[in-house]
Symmetry: C2
Subunit: 402 residues, 2 copies
C-alpha cells in the first residue's frame, strides 16, 4: 500500500530499541499512536481514558500492530496508515448493506469489524504481546497514555516480561523529524503567522482581546487547522505569560503580545510576536531588540552537533548585553511536533546536542508585571548548514497604526 | 470574594466523601481541577504531563488548596476562582515593576509568586497533605491526571495514608450539574446548532465536507467557543461513525450527517443532526423518523428517579417498532459537561437512576456501511417535571435545496 507520508523516524526508533535491547515498544498516548502508525484515534485525542495502542517489534521480529476499539475502525479504514495489522476490542454496531462492498473505505472497515473481538483494551494488548511471543521479552511501554491501574494490571498479566517505562524513548525518537513532519510543521507555522495578521487586521481603538482572538482563530480554522494556543494580551495584560483573551480593549501605545499556534494535521505551532498599537517607547524598542537579538544569536549558532546548553548561554548573554542586563529564563526554547513541547528543551543544564532534523521553537520571553510582556518566538529546522526558519516574518516589532 | 459562578456541586461532593469516609479528595485531571476550583490550567489542558491539583478536605477540616506550577500563577490571578489558598512549585521568572501594584491581576500574581516554592508537583502535593494533617488519612485520588509512576511515588511518600482511586467519585459528583454548568451547556448547545446552520449555508453541488467544516468551526470560534468534535460526512461517508471531513463533494440526494460540538468556557456540546441535500428517499424518511421517535420516547420518559436502563429499553424498542426492526445499540446517550462523556451512560445494564440536574445527550445513531448513517442526538436537562431541551431545533430532517 503506497503511503503519502510516514511520520515515524524508523531508523531512529530501531537504533534506540537496539541500544536499550528492547524486543518491542508499545505506544499508548495519542501523540505516539499517531506517530507510530498514522492513526489518529479521535476518542483518545479528545478525552482521557479511551485507549489505542501500537505494538512495534524489533527489526525482523514480526509485523507491528494497532490495537483499537471497534468504535474507531472507520478511522483506520479512512486514514493513511502504514501498519496493516489491526486488533480490535469491544462492541460497536454497524450494519452491512448490499452497497458496503462498493466503497473501499467501508469495505475495509467491515473487514476489520469481521475480525475477532478481543474484549477490552488491556486484554487485546496482552494477547497481542502473547501472540508475538513476547511474554518473556523486554518491552518498552509508553506509560503516559495508560491509566495508573492499567500499568499495574499489565505487570500482573505479564509477570515474566520486563516492562520498562518508554515515554522518554518516544520523546527522544520524535525529536528528529521526518520530512513529512517538517512539511506539516512548516504549514502550521505559516497558518499561524497568517492568523496573527488576520488578528491585527481588526486592531482598532475599542477592539478587545476577544475580537482579535476571534479573528485569529477564524483564520486558523479557515486553513483547516484547529485552535490550541491563543494567548493574546494587550498592555498590562501582555505581561501575563498565559494571557487568555478578555474584554480589555485596545488603547494607544499598547503592547499586543501573541503567543499562539494551532494544530494542522496533528502538528503544532508555537510562535510569538509583538505588535505595538501606535508608537513604541524607546524602552520597548530597546528591550524588544535585545530579545530579538537573543533569538537571532541562538539561530546563528544552531547546527548539528552544537550543545544545547551553549545555545542557551549565548541567547541569554546576548539579551543581557543588548538591553536587559537582569534577564533570567529557565529555557530559551524547545522542540515542537505532535506535542507543543517536544525534545530537546533548550536549557542551561541540558547535556544534549542538536541533530539535523530537529524542529525547535527558539524564544526569549520577558515579562514586567503590570507593564507589558515582550517575546520573540520562532520555529526553525536544524539543517546541516544551520537553522532554516519556518516562519516567513521576522520577529521585528509589528507597528499597527491606530 | 464574590464569584460569578461555582461549577462544583458542593453538597453532592460532601455527601459522597462522607459516604466513603474520605478525609480529603484530590483532583488531578484538567476537568476535575477546573470543576473543583474554577481554575483552568492551560498547560494541563493542552498537553499530557503538566500537573495541577486541588486538595479538598472533608467539611470542617480546613480550607481547600490549589497546587500549581509557578508558570501558571497569572491564570490563577486572572480567573474567577473560588479557592483562596494556592501552593506553587517550580521556577518561573516574572519581573516586578513600579507599576505591578496598580493592576489587581498582576498584584495578585506577584503575591502568589512571593510564596514559597515547593519544588515539584508531587512534593507540593505531599507537603499540602502533611500540612493539613492528612498523612494517616483516607484520601480519594483522582487517578486519571497522574502519570503511573507518580501514583506509585505518592504511595511511597505517604505510606500511612489510605489512597483510594477516586476518578469515579468525581464522575459521580459531576453527573448532577449546578445552574452555572447548565447555563454554559445551554450556550454551547446553541453555538453548536448555529454552527450547523452556518455549515448548511455553504452546502451546494461541489461543496466539500471540508468546506462545511470550515464554515462550522468559523461560527464556533466567532462565538468564543473552540472546535472539538467535528464529524461531518456526506453520502456513503456519513456511515463512518467518526467521519473526519474530506474533499468528498456534495451530490444530489446525499445524506449530510453532523455529529458535532465545541467547547464553551470548558463545557462541551455533542449534537447530531441529519440534513438531506435534495429530496430524501422514502426509506431515509422512515428510518430517520424511527430514530427521532426513539429520542423523543426517551425524552418523554426522562424524570428524576427513572431507571436509566428503562430509558435505554424504551428508546431501542421505539426505534425497532417505528422502522428499524434490527436496531442494535450499546447505549442511547450519556451525560455531558466538562467531559464529552460524563455520567451516566444510558445503557441496557446500568443500575443508575436519573436525578434532577443531570445533563444528557440522548442519541440513536444508525449506520449502514456504504450507504449512509442517520442520527439524532439532543442535549437535555433532567428537571423535576421532565426533560428540558437545550437544543432549539427539533431533530427533524433538515432539507437543503441544491
Amino acid at each position: 500500500m503506497p503511503h503519502e507520508s510516514i511520520l515515524l523516524n524508523t531508523e531512529r526508533l530501531h537504533a534506540r530499541m537496539s541500544k536499550l535491547r528492547l524486543d518491542a515498544i508499545v505506544a499508548t498516548s495519542p501523540e505516539n499512536v499517531t506517530y507510530m502508525s498514522g492513526f489518529w484515534a479521535l476518542p483518545q485525542w479528545i478525552r482521557r481514558g479511551p485507549q489505542a495502542y501500537v505494538v512495534w517489534t524489533a527489526r525482523g521480529d514480526g509485523e507491528p500492530e494497532i490495537i483499537t476499539s471497534t468504535a474507531t475502525l472507520d478511522l483506520i479504514a479512512d486514514q493513511d496508515i502504514w501498519i496493516e495489522r489491526v486488533r480490535r476490542y469491544g462492541t460497536f454496531h454497524v450494519d452491512e448493506s448490499a452497497e458496503t462492498g462498493t466503497d473501499p473505505v467501508c469495505r475495509r472497515q467491515m473487514e476489520l469489524q469481521a475480525q475477532p473481538d478481543h474484549g477490552d483494551a488491556l486484554t487485546a494488548l496482552v494477547t497481542s504481546l502473547r501472540d508475538a511471543g513476547l511474554t518473556r521479552a523486554r518491552i518498552g511501554i509508553d506509560e503516559i497514555g495508560l491509566m495508573p491501574d492499567q500499568l499495574t494490571e499489565l505487570r500482573q498479566r505479564l509477570p515474566d516480561a520486563a516492562l520498562l517505562p518508554a515515554a522518554d524513548v518516544f520523546r527522544d525518537v520524535r525529536a528528529v523529524k521526518t520530512e513529512e513532519e517538517i512539511a506539516r510543521l512548516a504549514r502550521v507555522a505559516e497558518i499561524t503567522e497568517r492568523s496573527i495578521d488576520a488578528a491585527l487586521a481588526v486592531a482598532r481603538v475599542g477592539a478587545s482581546e476577544l475580537d482579535l482572538a476571534r479573528a485569529f482563530h477564524t483564520q486558523t480554522v479557515q486553513e483547516d487547522a484547529l485552535p490550541v494556543l491563543g494567548c493574546i494580551g494587550f498592555g498590562e495584560r501582555s505581561a501575563l505569560m498565559n494571557v487568555q483573551p478578555s474584554r480589555r480593549t485596545l488603547e494607544q501605545g499598547d503592547v499586543i503580545r501573541f503567543d499562539v499556534g494551532g494544530r494542522y494535521r496533528h502538528y503544532r505551532a508555537d510562535i510569538a510576536r509583538i505588535a505595538i498599537f501606535g508608537e513604541p517607547t524607546r524602552e520597548i524598542r530597546q528591550k524588544h531588540r535585545a530579545l530579538l537579538a537573543g533569538v537571532e544569536r541562538a539561530c546563528e549558532l544552531i547546527r548539528p552537533g552544537k550543545r544545547v546548553a551553549d545555545i542557551y548561554a549565548a541567547a541569554v548573554e546576548t539579551v543581557r548585553r543588548e538591553g536587559i542586563p537582569h534577564y533570567r529564563r529557565n529555557h530559551v526554547g524547545h522542540g515542537i511536533g505532535l506535542d507543543g513541547y517536544d525534545a530537546p528543551a533548550l536549557t542551561q543544564t541540558s547535556e544534549e546536542r542538536l541533530e539535523a532534523g530537529m524542529v525547535l521553537c527558539v524564544e526569549t520571553p520577558y515579562y514586567e508585571a503590570g507593564r507589558w510582556g515582550l517575546q520573540v518566538e520562532d520555529m526553525i529546522v536544524v539543517r546541516a548548514d544551520g537553522a532554516e526558519r519556518l516562519t516567513a516574518t521576522s520577529g521585528d516589532l509589528m507597528l499597527v497604526t491606530p
